[in-house]
Assembly symmetry: D2
């Protein structure tokens, strides 16, 4: 088990539980002298923060990181960078009844198998989506580093509840409050979310991330290529159940003559006419945009009664979850996807 990501150059340690004193992260391997724009970082974190609109949980957290070390005069100093976010608005009581009755779709049962009674399950403990806040601290800083090199990672909602935003990707989408390219598609999605909420239910979706400006020649074959790294990181986001690159699962239905990206020269630079490969061949970047999508399952916390079992008595139980929850975490997960993309790509870039 590991909450430390060991990249080629970067290492990220994520710590905390939903209802502990704090969540936080330590990032090391950053070049010394890197300027960190704390306001821009806060803006990035706010995109993930809860309680800002009617499709997310009303639990309000400021998500304001306190930097303990690693920065000096606003710049990285070469030492590990540690930042924490205090947990203020915790209501563990909500979770007391759940101690022996695992919530379907949540980590509760699996975690109890692994850690026994000592497990801290309040608010999901270390498995909580709250842990994506420190992931975003790291990601937000790395996005700034990448941006200075002309590399951007932007994500958008590709679908919610089966409603697709089929419009071609545009960079500006990521800065929208509800980041779909087509506002009509976005409105449909919001309706689907509201309908699920009204029925005490939840919905999932697909997030697409496009990374532009990535130099070709990064990565490698076998176990440590670009897809291996991004997928390993993407599954660190709770609720992600699938990852695909370029045409992904659709490529499996295509002919080679369709799926192969023809080479061409554009402005004196070798490009491919299409990008079914998602910018990656043989685990190595080609210089075309890196494109991947993640499948996000519907939030497991729903208000409807659910069938569970009391772990002590092995008797069936009907479970009603009353805490505060998002009917759809897809919008809040968009910056988290950018964060893991930034982590993977920044590590590849620093590795060279």
């Amino acid at each position: 088990m590991s909450s430390i990501y060991s990249g080629a150059v970067l290492r990220l340690s994520v710590f905390g539980q939903s209802h502990a004193e704090a969540v936080g992260m330590t990032l090391e391997g950053l070049p010394a002298g890197l300027s960190v724009d704390l306001d821009a970082l806060q803006g990035f974190l706010n995109r993930r923060a809860p309680g800002r609109n009617n499709w997310s949980t009303p639990r309000k957290e400021e998500d304001r990181p306190e930097f303990l070390c690693g920065l000096k005069d606003g710049k990285t100093c070469g030492a590990p960078l540690t930042a924490i976010i205090r947990n203020r608005n915790t209501r563990s009581g909500d979770y007391e009844q759940l101690r022996h009755i695992p919530r379907p779709g949540h980590a509760d049962y699996a975690a109890r198998l692994r850690y026994g009674d000592a497990w801290d399950g309040a608010g999901g403990g270390h498995f909580s989506g709250r842990l994506t806040a420190p992931l975003c601290i790291a990601g937000g800083i790395l996005l700034q580093m990448l941006e200075a090199k002309g590399i951007r990672a932007d994500a958008r909602i590709r679908s919610v509840a089966g409603i697709e935003d089929a419009s071609p990707f545009t960079e500006s989408v990521a800065r929208k409050e509800f980041p779909t390219v087509s506002d009509e598609a976005g409105d449909e999605m919001k309706k689907a979310i509201a309908a699920a909420r009204a029925e005490g239910d939840s919905v999932g979706g697909v997030i697409e991330c496009v990374i532009t400006g990535v130099p070709g020649g990064l990565g490698g074959p076998m176990f440590d290529g670009v897809e291996n790294r991004i997928s390993q990181l993407a599954f660190a986001i709770p609720a992600v159940k699938g990852v695909e690159f370029g045409s992904g699962f659709q490529a499996a239905e295509m002919r080679g003559s369709q799926n192969n990206d023809a080479f061409a020269v554009e402005d004196g630079r070798l490009v491919t006419e299409t990008n079914h490969a998602g910018g990656i061949l043989g685990g190595i970047t080609t210089g075309m945009p890196v494109v991947f999508r993640v499948a996000v399952k519907p939030t497991p916390s729903i208000a409807q009664p659910q069938k569970s079992v009391n772990l002590k008595t092995l008797q069936p139980e009907t479970l009603c979850i009353t805490g505060r929850h998002d009917p759809c975490i897809v919008p809040r997960a968009v910056p988290v996807v950018e964060a893991v993309a930034a982590l993977a790509i920044a590590d590849l870039v620093l590795e060279g």
Copy 2:
């Protein structure tokens, strides 16, 4: 870049190029005293070997491993286990014309960006599907170890060219020569492969792997859970462009009330009534079968003329590939998927 997989306990080093002296692997971390049934291993390797039927490349390789060390009297002795397969039937001449004209859909261009002119591109070099042979040596041994513990990993063709085998999974499928549950679906797929071949084209597909007997409580949250590990390994298989667990991308279209797996008790043991989670919650096994699928793109080597560019002159070129190739590598990739599943699960089991 790394051709070494570092699991929690197991480490696998895969080496070789398609047209080098040999391909091979070193596996360490195996418990000492483990019996290795070399005949059973050969049977497993034969499922991957080329040249056995009319949907794979006519290149014939015996794929007979030579064990250099790590075994004593048919048992592991605690030292690293190294086995090699000599490359006998290489025709590098086929690839000479390709030195400066990258094949669309192949690693050629990306590899050249990374390694420069020193890259050994003959037969795809270290990027060749041939490297899955040593992966299968490791996987075949680990499958034997797992079987002794009541754990099985069986894969099947779930779809080829969009033709789906929707029948429920059965363990015996994996031993079929063309491993679909429904023979009718299998026949349709073979027709699609033959049609693609006749047109000098290729097709892809989806492989599904089901791992039964996995104890609950293995894995962990964040970066090193079951999904992170399996996906990192699955992308080591050339041509894989997507991975999903349980309901995967379909879960993104479901409601929470549908996708959550209700808990129940069966024979005094906690189970879930459905398995949309694919046996994994919070990155940890639940004791239900671990289920994942990989998307395999159509073989990039096709006989049709393709558009490429001469890297030296930056002039457009029409490329005709004349070597020996599979019109569909999905059938041969089935045991490779079992091999990476075995590697991930064996490592989790040994980690405990």
Copy 3:
């Protein structure tokens, strides 16, 4: 560069700078349900803390850790354990004059080569002995875990300024304020320390650590054996310049017939009559006590004027260091040596 230790099971991230907001550590891989006695831990930390007697720096720090996560009701909960110590008593002004004039024997010059002007050198920054405080938080917890398994790591001052404490090791020595077996030898050492201090100078010494109760059969050959791990960790302690096991450098002067430890049976258990091997053969524990010694150089901070160079002008400078410093850090380093021993051995024990 890495301030994360990745053992087989345990991972320790150490962060902070001498004059940053805090120093701290994240430890993961601990079994869930482990009781942590915070009072005993504080007792252990106090052995390292400065300002307690006249052979250490007058800088006073409480070294009272705040646990941010990973503990629940006094027990580990399976999630990463993070604790921080706030830095309160910092006087960065002392270090301003040193910005461009590296202190001989310190990391200043090397760190500046590595990190450039962004380096935070105040108090030695991330290179400060202060970082051994979080190392001791981890070590103190692991010593508790080991003690519950009958394993102890006790260190003593073996020599200071060439004055040796040749008396045979006894466990109780580690709890002395000045941990020598022979009080006479200890008094001589204190005199040598006082003499050095009086002359604005400093002295070094050797610390010996004996670990008893270690099961045989832990570790392995080549790169990851017991000696490899302990030495890798021991050099994490600033000022350590040598490590030896068992008879160490003395073994190099012995004959094989002297140095080989004869096997014998004692109380039905295989032992060796001597322990020149320091409890390790082939990188694996034998069941005999693990014994190692580290050489600690004299504190580089001395009050005497020293020759340095101004890095901006490349002109010679005479440097006078006026901060607060230990004339001999050997006594305070004793628990730190126990801490790294605990980290190495606990990891080996958990690996099994």
Copy 4:
């Protein structure tokens, strides 16, 4: 347990047993396009090979590596580099009597605790000094890479049986057959070796390695600095029981005013007037030569009768070892020390 070294960039897997089919190594992370001079490599390997003179074992092995992959037209191609050496001259019968009677000073007993009866102990198995041959293949290639960058690692015999070669280091020493600076000291050492051999005994010694041309600013604090890495690697050499840097254990007896290396300017370049630090401060290179010494214990295989215990009966046994052995392995270990130095430094240089 691990026979894989994972550096920042380089990874080295060493495999084989003394009496298996082969020993070998896989090295990855080398830049593509690196020329490998196979004749020079053979010359380096010959320095380690047995049977060349009267102070080493009469077992003759050609130690001629076969390269299986990773080289193309004499240059690295970016793929892992694997080379093997076949074991031809094995006489396992010599070791049959030892199956249940562990040899004092050898890994036998510890290995049996770890691996049980399945352990392959013939010739020491995976613990044999023979495994330093593949280590030297890697080291020899890396020394060539370093030499092209103006970096050299040269080792010499510093002492044997307590007889010291106190003469200042000169680069040319490493190429002598018996590499001492002072031939008189060397002759004394040879006499001591001959005397030990005549008495059926063995002697140890100290090897000193000096690495010149190392750029300053490589490495880092805490767990992954230059000393941590070199020591972790040095203990991979069988029989090494101590490592020290610069003045090492002698520094522990010095005053700070003596041990601190004063900074000065020489030819417009910052240097230190002395090099007690061995070229390393704070785990980072200073640009001065990196100097370390390792203590090599006397060969445990001696002809004299020794006390052991039969592991099956737990009865005392008198053991007489009759195989072929070196009375002193120090001379043959000299290139091995250079090899591990090259591995550590090459990794630091590639990491940058």
